[in-house]
Subunit: 452 residues, 2 copies
């Protein structure tokens, strides 16, 4: 009955139910909503209704609501609920989300919460909190189902039934041996097709793909993407099963990593979104800009070195911004190709040599085309064949240099184990400014007598 209602209609109905104290109608409505939708209702709910809203929800519903919210609102809810009710709800949360939430609280508060949890739960959450948040350990959950390899299909189905309400992922069952080592995996599909008396050991898949707990989340994403998995198990050095990473968390990882690449490529600085204040955004953007400012001053000293040339042929300055700009542009293009390529490719010497050769080829083709065009324009505009030749051949050279700089700098950083995306577009552009000015005025100085 609520199927075709818009978000706003739902919000209004929720407020109506809250005002008229109709808890039953309220629950009927909430029951039909997804956690994401409930979170949206909460976000748009006027402050004065939020407390009542929370008292009308079940603990399980609050747990899934919290998991959909940003940390600010999560903490608001924790405060509204008080420590006791919050603890009950934390017991119902996925452990990976819970570890993240606790990570945002103050140390004292964390202690308070951990002390109210069951010993088991508290130990688990603490162990999850010790992994870096961008590793397999940091994004794994331990709400999964494992079975000993001596189980039959019937045993497995029984265990699955008990855990279906609790586990985040019930599509794969991980099989362990006496030493708790991961030895196999069985999918729900296998159970469905197997005979009730089949031994798990006989129907399980042996070559389990797993990831170590300290693996970078980007690598975990790559594994799941390659194998089209819904989840991947996480193990310690001894191949003991620690948890699983599910595909829904991987979707978030992919979005986060792409955003990070773009932030670095544009030298934007960390996580600026539409909500960031002007002061914070400026503070994050300024370090790069100031660095680039000082590199930019170097271009000034190059020009001052060629002051004599410029004073004699002022027309040279006309093409200066264009040449510097074009060199920066090709550099940015090459940079983007290399940075994105490094994300999805395995890199060996052969690949790199071929890539550099290819970009050299691109530089020559692009340089020749644009050089010829600008030579023609300069010749027609200023009527000087020499000026055309100087501008054209400079652009030819600088475009080759720009392309190579955009290729070599990120590769070098990659080799030095620095994230190649640090070589942002603005940095490449600024460095290329300097190269291009040197080449341009150098060439012009060679032909200064013909230019006069």
């Amino acid at each position: 009955m609520y199927k075709d209602m818009t978000e706003n209609q739902i919000l209004l109905l929720v407020i109506k139910n809250l005002k008229e104290l109709r808890k039953k109608e309220f629950q009927l409505l909430i029951d039909e909503l997804q956690p994401y939708d409930i979170a949206n209702v909460y976000k748009n709910l006027p402050e004065k209704h939020r407390h009542k809203f929370l008292t009308y929800l079940t603990a399980q519903q609050i747990a899934s609501l919290i998991q959909e919210l940003e940390s600010e609102l999560q903490i608001e809810i924790i405060h509204k609920l008080g420590i006791e009710r919050s603890s009950n709800i934390m017991n119902l949360m996925e452990n990976d989300d819970l570890a993240d939430l606790l990570g945002n609280l103050e140390v004292e508060q964390i202690q308070d919460f951990l002390s109210t949890m069951t010993a088991d739960e508290s130990r688990t959450v603490q162990s999850l909190m010790k992994y870096e948040s961008d590793t397999a350990g940091g994004i794994m959950t331990n709400r999964f189902v494992w079975i000993p390899k001596i189980y039959t299909v019937r045993d497995a189905v029984d265990k699955l039934k008990t855990f279906a309400g609790f586990a985040e992922n019930i599509y794969y069952l991980y099989v362990i041996d006496e030493d708790k080592k991961l030895v196999g995996v069985v999918s729900y599909r296998d159970l469905l097709l197997g005979d009730m008396n089949d031994k798990i050991e006989d129907i399980m898949y042996n070559r389990v793909i797993s990831v170590p707990a300290d693996l970078d989340q980007e690598e975990v994403a790559r594994t799941i993407e390659r194998y089209d998995f819904i989840a991947v198990p996480v193990t310690d050095e001894e191949n003991r099963l620690l948890g699983i990473v599910t595909v829904d968390d991987i979707l978030d990882v992919l979005i986060e990593e792409a955003n990070e690449d773009i932030e670095k490529l544009s030298a934007t600085g960390k996580s600026i979104d539409f909500q960031t204040s002007a002061l914070v955004a400026s503070y994050r953007r300024l370090p790069w800009l100031i660095l680039l400012l000082f590199i930019g001053i170097m271009s000034g000293s190059i020009i001052s070195a060629f002051e004599g040339t410029i004073e004699r042929v002022v027309a040279l300055t006309y093409f200066m911004p264009m040449i510097a700009g074009m060199t920066g542009n090709t550099g940015t293009q090459s940079l983007a190709v290399v940075v994105r390529g490094l994300v999805s490719q395995d890199i060996d010497k052969y690949t790199i040599t071929r890539l550099i050769g290819r970009e050299l080829g691109v530089g020559i083709i692009i340089g020749a085309t644009c050089g010829l065009l600008i030579a023609l324009v300069a010749f027609i505009w200023k009527g000087s064949l020499t000026l055309g030749l100087v501008v054209g051949s400079s652009l030819f050279l600088t475009l080759i240099i720009g392309t190579l700089a955009g290729t070599l700098i990120p590769l070098l950083l990659y080799r030095l184990k620095v994230d190649p995306a640090v070589a942002s577009g603005p940095l490449i552009t600024t460095i290329n400014d300097i190269f291009s000015l040197l080449v341009y005025f150098g060439t012009a100085s060679l032909f200064i007598h013909q230019l006069l």
Copy 2:
């Protein structure tokens, strides 16, 4: 037993088995591999072994192998197998992958293949081929399980068993009414916890989230990501169920879309990777570069208009590339923030007004900081307070303009329903070059008498 072998060891063992005609050992090994790994073996296999390799695989194995390969290798296999065996294999492929594969063949070949398929299969594949490849219809599969709402849990489990080997996703069952309209969804979890005699109608979830067939794949990805789904159903205008989109395809969509954003932001042109030839890469990169070249020439004519000013104060040229560069850099930063923000945010008037205000604030803060710094540098370097003031105040103004241009241009494009990422970094940089030259020389001309 093959669990701890490296990729190379597996490859060598495969070749050994092929050479010694040990089909049984070959199958034992292949059985333990994932489709992705089998595809890797095939890619690295010397050409002379490939034909035998294919004859040793079962039709089902070839079907999953093909799905992991790029279209070039797919077509190679089709040719190696001949039309009859290929058709058998195509019948076993996921329909969305098959539609993509056929889309890469020539029309005649497509006709040949379609004619060898069962009428049902051929009709389905043809209907899949009619959707744009970047829409829900283009990435959906029709290997899913649907049940009528009058079924009991027992009926559903029986149907699931029959289809478990065939369906791409057996974790959700979609429920339809007499008119084939989508009315609910039941998860494997619900079946597991339900009683065998429960009616599906009573335990199903009514508020099914579905997407229309012509929805952009990026929007489909957003839906799956928001709701943490493993699959989402695709419906026509009448709410009839057409297919499902699974999360593994969404991972590919996210990677593809992030790459596209970066390509556009860096004006790289479509899909250049490490394998693209220099000629093709140049061809894809040149259109933007040539456009930027001509915009760059405009900056030349601006400078020529201020020739008199430059001739009198050559030192002005020292700061020209730095000012143009810095304006471009802030513009690129703002652009990246806006473009990425537009991907993940819902946009309304309020958000936009606030964003523009925020960026204006950022421009003022950044402009004041950098302007002050460069004024000091210019004053100390050239000993002229006026020059310091001209350079500093110009940078202050151009950084504000640059920030706003980097914000307003993508927003304007978004408003005009053009992809905002088209306003690439290089384009913003080039446009900002022009703004900055006008401001810089304009300011300088105002103070020309003090500068002399």
